[in-house]
Amino acid sequence: MTVVLKVENLSKHFGGLRAVNGVTFDVARGELKALIGPNGAGKSTCFNMLMGQLKPSAGRVSLNGEDITGKPPRDIWRRGVGRTFQITGTYQSMTVAENVQMALISHHRKIFAIRPFAHKLYRDEALALLEIVGMADQADRACAILAYGDLKRLELAIALANNPTLLLMDEPTAGMAPKERERLMQLTADIVRDRNISVLFTEHDMDVVFAHAHHIMVLNRGELIADGTAAEVRNNAQVQEVYLGGGTLYAKEDAHA
């Protein structure tokens, strides 16, 4: 299997706080991998380092064999990494199609073009991407009035604009209704299969994680405590203790109550 993303000994320290500490893992081509863990475990910090929003204190991140550690987000994106955010970051003052067109304009390096009208550029490509996420019928609506689930799908379409080899999705289903969650994750799984790309995502909803992830990593207090298949992780004693819970933790207290 080809390794797309290789993370070695990644660390981030804020003063004395070790938010992420010596994290090492790989993501293979065509793999849908989840990163889970309690709030404050360092998932977001980890993600922000992978995408270049934060500079790591130590360690190395390489993409398809190339060292991308500490590069700014836009350089990492140009090397084929798409990203969706926990809190959606779309352009509120544009239409749905224009949001995707903007990413395509950037991908084709036409940002500083001053002759053409932007809303006419790469419209067909944008509609094709919107078709994939099932948003083509809303292409000309204002982004500001979209429902939350639709915004998430729009973000996914934007993330596909540069033909990525790797997608990073930070809590893709947060704030969605259960049915919508299932739909979005199924969509993601289809995209992974059809385009043979890799996805690394963080998630709180264990149903989503266990149903869709090929492999699961568990982060706790900045350290990776498990990395394996759903069954392996589910049966890992340490994971049960710190995150999933096994019902034994409060045995002592139960006696009091």
Partner: protein
Amino acid sequence: MGLFAAQLITGLANAAALFLVASGLSLIFGVTRIVNFAHGSLYMLGAYFGVTLMQMLPGGFGFWGSVLLSGLIVGLIGVVIEICVLRPVYRAPELFQLVATFGVILVIQDLTLMIWGADDQIGPRAPGLKSVVRILGEPIPQYDLALIAITPFILLALWWLITKTRIGILVRAATQDRTMVGALGVNQSWLFTGVFFLGSALAGLGGAIQLPKGGADLLMDLNIISAVFVVVVIGGMGSIPGAFVASVLISVLNVFGVAYLPQSTLVLMYVVMAVVLLIRPYGLLGREEKGGEHGQVGEPDRPIRPAGLVGRSLVAALMVALALIPVFGSNFTQVLLTDIIIFCLFAASLQFMLSTGGLVSFGHAAYFGGGAYAAALLVTHAGTPMELAFLFAPFAAGLLAIIFGWFCIRLSGVYFAMLTLAFSQLVWSAAFQWYDVTGGDDGLVNIWPSEWLSGTTTYYYFTLIVGVGGIILLRHLTHTPLGYALRAGRDSDRQAEATGINVKLVQWTGFAVAGALAGLAGGLFVFSKGSIFPNELEIAKSFDALIVVFLGGVKTLSGGVVGAAFMDGVRDWLTRLEYWRLILGLLIIAVVIIAPNGIVGSLRKGAERLGFYRGEFSE
């Protein structure tokens, strides 16, 4: 040695008033996140109240009592301003807040004029401190020594208040998280009012305490505000010790500047600021923080489209009408329309960076006046033909914007605004003080267009073509990828960066384009008037542009042009009134509070409501 010591002492004494005003501004900003432009006006009021009170109350006790009373009165005036003007706009975008405080400046200017008249007031000298002391052989006014002795106590008192008292703890907590302070049972609106009272009182004290050195006049509000901004920016916004250090630094620097570099006292201050910000972008003792919103609070902007057939036809019809003006209209109408078109282009260039780019510039006059001066300097000193000099105007202004933009773009929100303001003041002070080159206050005259353009009607057509061409160019750019990239960076700079857009570079480009087009307007201006004076570079000129963009509607594409046309049309009529500033100020405040969508935005909303124009936003 003696002279050196004397100068140092004078500088330290001058720092007193500056520190009082700056610490008040800093305190208010720290908690309310509002940059109170009217702070200089409160300082001015302190001086006027001081003069009046000192005439009524005799003796040393009367003098110091008047100083304290002036502070108290101005503090109460601050409370009135906070409750009436600022409370309704705390949740509005910061641009709205700034425009509102600018309205307050106008109101206070005219009220002061009404009450105290136009004559300068001479400040009484402090009883018991009228003579001089000899230090190292140099005469030092006793009052200076008193000021130097008092200032550290004020700093200490403020420091104690902020760090040791419950009020101070609440103020610091509210600076960080207002909502949480409220949820813990603290009435934060009264906390805000209290902070505003204290900050205003400090400004009033500053105004009264400097009376023996400076007196009171109607220009002192805007004169001090730029120095205060420099101090607050150098010291770090929200930092009281920072304000103290920077006040001393600037005041001392000023005194030595007057002695050794008399041509560059004003410039010096801004150079120091630029250097400090290069090394520490958030000031000497300031802390890094994210700038506020750029007018993106509330209803989001709407998607835009180039004008359709109807829109284009309407614009074409308007052009035809304007082209026919010389046939029917008088000479006066043509001159007025020339002015209006130039102002419209200037406003449109600001709107391009402000609305499309989300870059709220407070110093856009630097590029308008800069372009005008560039052309005028070429004509005056090099005898350059008008055509070449005219083309040089947008080029020079664009270059200036590229240089200043490089510094400004690194900051955002209020910090960005402050720095643009400071740079415009830098240009202004150069024009004002570099007498040999710029003619200083006398300006540059005899800058007339070439023979073939010299008639009023010819120049009117020239302005119409160039001005409207510039506006259409800006409008076109808004719809190109560059314009979209600017909006993308404004809407979500995180998403833009994450999809390969170099947001800072895009913003820098937008800044330069806006600067060049403002310079084009400046070029048109200088040849239409035949002269240029430093007042075209003043803060008031920058604010003029901000206000018309705001009046027209920030979240629209044509707001600047419509606002400018409206304003220039009305101003001619309005300025005939004695107290037109009062009316304009109240109007601005009313618009901010009642109709924040501006003229174009409100018309659009009205049309939607009546069903003439259907948008997805109409509910």
